[in-house]
Symmetry: C2
Subunit: 139 residues, 2 copies
């Protein structure tokens, strides 16, 4: 192996793996969609946030939507592709709540009435995906 492993995890991280990118998505999912509000919520330098937003828009994860012509104002909304990243954030939050426990967890609700407790299952058999239940490809 002389060149880095080709891999869609790496490809995905090239889109959302830079510092603050996933926090931008967190804010968007929480309904925070304006530049200044994101700066405050994330605590990122303004120039870095501007660069991340541009990158995410170019990658088709967010879309810039005008909500006022004059003065020109717009907000960042997730595309369909962007919405599909919510699961990643749910899992990151769950992992932090379980293993870092530095704060009272943010409790999200699920339609069923219970607190949201995300679980990764196989879409085919609906059984949980565990390290043991996954088989690696023959190397």
């Amino acid at each position: 192996m002389t060149v880095p492993r080709p891999c869609s995890i790496a490809d995905t991280l090239a889109v959302v793996g830079e510092k603050y990118s996933l926090l931008v998505l967190r804010e968007v999912f929480l309904g925070v969609r304006r530049f200044d509000a994101m700066v405050r919520g994330i605590g990122a330098p303004r120039d870095v946030l501007a660069a991340r937003l541009k990158h995410l828009v170019e990658a088709g994860v967010l879309e810039k939507v005008a909500y006022s012509e004059r003065p020109p104002r717009h907000e960042y909304v997730p595309t369909a592709a962007g919405l599909e990243l919510q699961g990643v954030l749910h899992l990151l939050r769950q992992w932090g709540d379980r293993h870092l426990a530095e704060r009272p967890p943010l409790v999200l609700g699920h339609d069923c009435g219970a607190a949201l407790d995300p679980l990764v299952v196989c879409a085919h058999c609906r059984q949980p995906v565990t390290p043991q239940s996954v088989s690696l490809p023959p190397s």
Copy 2:
């Protein structure tokens, strides 16, 4: 909001959000557990990889296990906490396969016999977690 939002997503990203950290976990889950092999698989600079490994060990995500006394040799194996991050990698891979499609997807198998297709459900009701089915906390 004068200070960044306190959030376990951000806390988790402080552990695994640096450049290459999730790729280290990918390699570990693929069974690649030695320094030089990781350098080749990931394509990271050796010094950066050394720093990431140290950080992941200190954070309790990986453990350094000797497999030879003389010469002193060891490998990096995931802890229980580390194993729990597999779901994140499955989702990142799935997203890349769906939206980037730059290569034939790496097909992992699931116990049920089908190709692994990860899906995030609510552990309580087993229904898929969608943007619409999750309710935000009252801000």
